[in-house]
């Protein structure tokens, strides 16, 4: 294992998981605030169990796929996923689309559950549990994909998983202490950084999958990251200028 590739993989898994876990935590907290910790904990546990099942089912299959095919497929998926995040983060930084607001998500989820409570009081615990399960499952799937994507190509699944687990632990600890949505997390900055890293990994794996031997080997990742960082910043700056021109 070389640090030039292990460090970006662990960092990408940690930061991406931080963003996703904060989003899931906001919804689980809304459920817990309105209906108590029991349905929230049950939904979360069920979500984590389904995720574990998916990983246990699909994990061994990864070893059977030829490495170049795995690198190509994962590389392309990472490119699509990472560039999507970077695009959104650039547009948010330019003020073209609104920033993700955890307080607003918390308020919206609480309002939805309150409305359900008004309509059908009996099945509310069930509905609250399902809401928590969905949040954990949907955001968790993204975490699982990122961990597999940044870790599977070079046998870094364990360090990447540890990065993701550290993010879960950090969010849970902060959440337990604060008991409110973690709205102070600089989510767009994190998404910008993770988008840069995932896009860099995407180009790297896609190229290797196509049979390209990148000059500098793993160090090429740093060059790709710098390239995507510059692209995101240039895109954001151009988008800001364009929206100001149209506004005036």
């Amino acid at each position: 294992m070389t640090w030039s590739i292990a460090a970006p993989a662990v960092t990408a898994a940690f930061l991406a998981s931080l963003v996703e876990v904060v989003e899931a935590f906001t919804i689980v907290l809304a459920v817990a605030t309105l209906r108590g910790w029991r349905p929230a904990a049950l939904g979360t546990t069920a979500g984590l169990a389904v995720l574990a099942g998916i990983v246990l089912l699909l994990g061994p299959l990864l070893n059977r796929v030829p490495i170049s095919a795995l690198q190509l497929v994962i590389g392309v998926l990472l490119l699509l996923f990472g560039m999507g995040w970077l695009r959104k983060a650039s547009l948010r930084a330019a003020g073209v689309i609104p920033l993700h607001d955890e307080e607003a998500v918390f308020a919206a989820e609480t309002a939805t559950l309150s409305e359900r409570a008004h309509n059908r009081r009996r099945s509310l615990d069930w509905a609250a549990g399902i809401t928590a399960l969905k949040a954990v499952l949907l955001e968790g799937l993204e975490v699982v994909f990122i961990v597999i994507a940044v870790g599977a190509g070079r046998g870094l699944l364990v360090p990447a998983s540890l990065g993701a687990l550290a993010a879960c632990g950090l969010v849970l600890a902060a959440g337990v202490m604060l008991h409110r949505p973690l709205s102070r997390v600089p989510e767009n900055l994190l998404k910008f950084g993770v988008g840069v890293m995932l896009s860099a990994f995407g180009v790297f794996w896609t190229g290797e999958g196509l049979g390209i031997a990148w000059p500098g080997e793993d160090l090429a990742l740093l060059f790709f990251a710098a390239l995507f960082l510059a692209a995101g910043l240039i895109g954001s700056s151009l988008a800001r200028k364009l929206s100001m021109e149209f506004a005036s």
């Binding site: 392309v76 490119l79 560039m83 073209v96 949907l138 390209i212 151009l238 988008a239």
Partner: protein, 71 residues
């Protein structure tokens, strides 16, 4: 069933949230693959199409989205 649908929508959205960008990236990867397999072009020149092409596609897409939202 509704949850499965939502799960499927979320999964598709993860990779194909912006259709134009998705198609452009897939076309770029296919073009880089063709350059490597079917031409005698130097591997690194063909490979350079990938990072530099992605970067141009990203900037173009961000500007296009900003223009579309502003107008």
């Amino acid at each position: 069933m509704t949850m499965l649908k939502e799960l499927a929508v979320e999964l598709v959205g993860m990779f194909a949230g912006e259709k134009r960008l998705t198609l452009a990236v897939l076309a770029l990867v296919a073009a880089a693959g063709c350059l490597l397999d079917f031409t005698t072009l130097n591997e690194l020149i063909a490979g350079a199409v990938l990072p530099f092409g992605c970067v141009l596609l990203l900037i173009e897409n961000v500007c296009r989205s900003a223009r579309a939202r502003a107008s």
